[in-house]
Symmetry: C2
């Protein structure tokens, strides 16, 4: 039997900038070796003085690395931590009216600070997760995810492991830090007053003293490696711009065969293979289709290069 | 103090088509009113005879409603349940070699069957979640989500609720059924042998006897309402096709002002407002830009209509 227990103490004091979170945690929770402490980013931010006067809209530009999708009032951005969130994760709940709270500047560092503090003062070896609430593609509602972590395995790597039938496991990377954050949210809730939860029963995920692990940053898919790094509308706008200064791709470049098929299918032109090592293709393209060809080529992680012949262009993978 | 307990019993028997899952659950788990039983879809599928001989690739076309993104060997599709998953959720782990398992045909119905069966035989009122493992946009790794549910609140609706400071809550819909599935995965694991978990401590989420609730289908964002319903590359290909037979939009139509700004910005043309009630715009478009304008218009949820003037087109919202 596998057994987990999640407890979230009531009655946490109001946290102010500069407060000693380690002391507050020790006051409220009883911790044992192998526990995972899940702390909402809200309370970490408050202790770290990340409250600001103003609105989410005013704070958004400073928190935004790039816009992912925009629709009416909704702005989904990738923030400086690499997190894709509505309004960059800036929140205005459970803070005084007229104020907002920014995410911790480095939530993995915040988690390390808590882990080290707890270890120094009590000798107890706990993993720490800093959680925040995020929407998802494809599904309604939000779940809590790990935006910071220290001293825990954030994803269990089963690559190459086999099940009882001898099959290699198809799902190889359960993101357990996110599941811990979501499980903790079931105990802490959204109405304030329970910013901490302790998960007991997965001591196997907690790293030895002195090891912090890869942190929650390891759960962020690198920009340019994501197939959903732009909203569908934004992807089209981006590809159709005559010059895309920002070379961040929509995932890895397509194979020459894939691009060739797309060019035939979408703009009705037939590329020829040059035999070059980088897979370069040649296309004769009427002027009227040049923008569409360029957009299509860009979307496949390739670039259009001019040649000496006015209507002939060479297509090459962007990395080439 | 809020307290949750999650237990996953070891040593479940191998489930065969036609097996009585209710009896197996009762044999393994001790249930109380207000518990949530989380069952992996795998074991539900096995009991429902959803095993097939063959490979995931062979079964994929039958399970696919439409392709969302494709990259090399990876195929992310929306399946007939509306779930966006790699390989449509077809799995080949924890099944005999050479076989695959399809998702339950109607996981909400499977969940209702379990809930009703447990109620009938023991009088116990439990919520039921059928879980499966899914990748996410933007984040590495996978988490378990709820693909079926009965007798539980799948998302807590806090719309209009206020925090202790009087702020309206910005995050209004915690997807608790997904968090329950993820929490259960921490206890059941991926190596087989623990297909059931019981979550105790959120009886407030369990509905009264006789009520099944909206089911996990309520967590599926409707097709055409999702900003990430297509991979970035696929969105470009789709918009650039001269004729898009499939009118499924990339979210709600843009406002006339938004589309007008995009047309100016991307193709350098200046639309004029017609004053029509549907916000229709007129654009004079050289032939060479027509395909780009059409793609851009489509991406904004609008359509291009010809007029009596050869180079003039009228743009109208698709719904209009």
């Amino acid at each position: 039997m596998s057994r987990l227990e999640i407890t979230a103490p009531d009655g946490a004091p109001e946290v102010e900038p500069g407060d000693d979170l380690v002391a507050i945690v020790l006051l409220m929770a009883s911790l044992a070796d192998g526990d995972v402490l899940v702390v909402t980013s809200k309370v970490v931010s408050k202790a770290e003085g990340r409250l600001r006067t103003g609105t989410r809209e005013e704070a958004l530009p400073g928190e935004t690395a790039r816009v992912v999708a925009r629709r009416g009032e909704t702005m989904i951005v990738r923030n400086h931590l690499g997190l894709t969130m509505a309004a960059a994760g800036i929140d205005n709940s459970n803070v005084p009216q007229g104020q907002i709270v920014l995410l911790p500047e480095d939530p993995d560092a915040s988690a390390r600070g808590l882990r080290d503090g707890l270890l120094d003062r009590t000798g107890v070896n706990v993993g720490v997760v800093v959680s925040d609430t995020a929407g998802r593609a494809w599904r309604e509602g939000q779940t809590d995810i790990a935006i910071g972590a220290a001293g825990i395995v954030v994803a269990e790597d089963f690559a190459g492991r086999r099940d009882g039938y001898g099959n290699e496991l198809a799902v190889t990377l359960p993101a357990v830090a996110d599941e811990l954050a979501g499980a903790a949210e079931l105990a802490t809730g959204k109405l304030g007053g329970r910013p901490f939860a302790v998960v007991r029963g997965r001591a196997d995920l907690v790293l030895p003293r002195g090891e912090h692990g890869r942190g929650a940053a390891a759960l962020v898919r690198p920009d340019g490696a994501d197939l959903f790094g732009y909203g569908a509308r934004e992807a089209v706008v981006r590809a159709l711009r005559a010059e895309v200064a920002d070379q961040r791709p929509f995932g890895a470049p397509a194979s020459p065969t894939e691009l060739s098929a797309a060019v035939r299918d979408v703009v009705g032109l037939v590329p020829s293979h040059t035999g070059a090592a980088d897979g370069a293709l040649l296309v004769t393209c009427p002027r009227g289709l040049m923008r569409a060809l360029t957009a299509l080529t860009f979307a496949h992680g390739w670039m259009v290069h001019t040649t000496d012949h006015p209507n002939e262009v060479r297509l090459r993978p962007s990395s080439g």
